[in-house]
Amino acid sequence: MFELYLKLGFGHLLDIQAYDHLLFIIALTISYRPREWKKLLILVTAFTIGHSVTLALAVLDIIQFSPAVIEWLIPITILLTAIFNFYRPLTEQESQSSSISISQKIKYFSALGFGLIHGMGFSNFLRATLMPGEEGQLGLQLLAFNIGIELGQLIIVAIIILINYFILNILFIKRKWWIRSISLGIIGMTIWIMYVLWNG
């Protein structure tokens, strides 16, 4: 049971065909230099705490919400995160430390807050897998699924760090250009997601 739900969580995050969570994580982490990986991990942890809380609350039926509303909120979280990447202190050299820490704080709190929304999205999938008669195993299923998601997340973040290293330190592509291009691409794809949702 644990293994099944671990695989389901891992596969759900890394599912290229359900790419909204992937877009969010990329938007969130793309502005970090490879050597800032510690800050990045703290940021991802904030997102993790956010989604773990609402995933559990939703699956345990402690909170209820309209899945359709969450379907719309998730692209908005991606848009806001990607747009924020155009905020100067993120894309320029570390100059005034005070303005950097404000943008860091904004990132941490938004990662936490947006995590709450993505967790509700995850719960839609997890709830769909549940079958009658196994209610006693819900805690185990929840734990395994969440760990699967975290593992998937770690893989994505590791890949992003590696790609960033290659782009910035080997190809010497300008960091500001790189962050903004990726963010623009993400914004475009997210607008497309919203367009399809609207016509759905």
């Binding site: 099944l4 599912d15 359900a18 379907e71 998730i74 839609n124 399809v196």
Partner: protein, 164 residues
């Protein structure tokens, strides 16, 4: 580029591509009994694709066509296969009922077991995989020795082998 965008749009977000089933080796009843939850709109599409049936099936509604059940059974038999000791078992349809949210059906069917002790089991479950590349089918299996297994079937990995 347009094709890429269209592909991306189709691959959107959270259509849940999942079936779930409870499968039990029921010794007293001498049969492998299956309850399987499948989304109606997906079933509609694959059954029509496979059987060439021209009209809408309206499965699970009052407008269901008379051939509905037999078309469903034929589809299930092709995509959910049980081998015991290397012999294929025959699917026997019991019935179906709508899920609470009316989006899916629980399909009930069984496979009569031979008299011999069950040593090898091979379960094939590629339901809906021709429709979605990311289709996942899960099975909670209660085996001949009452041992529980939890199986995940995906495209390219749609057969599970078990020994008892």
């Amino acid at each position: 580029m347009i094709l890429l965008l269209q592909w991306l749009a189709l691959m959107l977000a959270h259509d849940i591509h999942l079936t779930k089933a409870q499968v039990e080796f029921n010794e007293p009843d001498q049969a492998v009994q299956v309850s399987m939850h499948i989304f109606l709109d997906d079933l509609e599409e694959v059954i029509k694709d496979e059987t060439g049936f021209a009209d809408k099936l309206h499965l699970g509604t009052e407008k269901e066509v008379p051939q509905g059940d037999s078309l469903l059974v034929s589809y299930l038999g092709n995509h959910f296969v049980v081998h015991v000791n290397d012999q294929p078992l025959t699917l026997s349809y019991v019935g179906k009922e709508n899920s609470e949210d009316l989006l899916a059906v629980w399909c009930y069917f069984e496979f009569p077991l031979p008299d011999t002790p069950v040593n090898k089991v091979a379960l094939t479950n590629n339901v809906l995989m021709e429709l979605y590349d990311d289709q996942q089918n899960i099975i909670n299996l209660k085996g001949p020795n009452k041992k529980m297994s939890h199986l995940l079937f995906k495209k390219g990995n749609a057969i599970s082998h078990l020994t008892y």
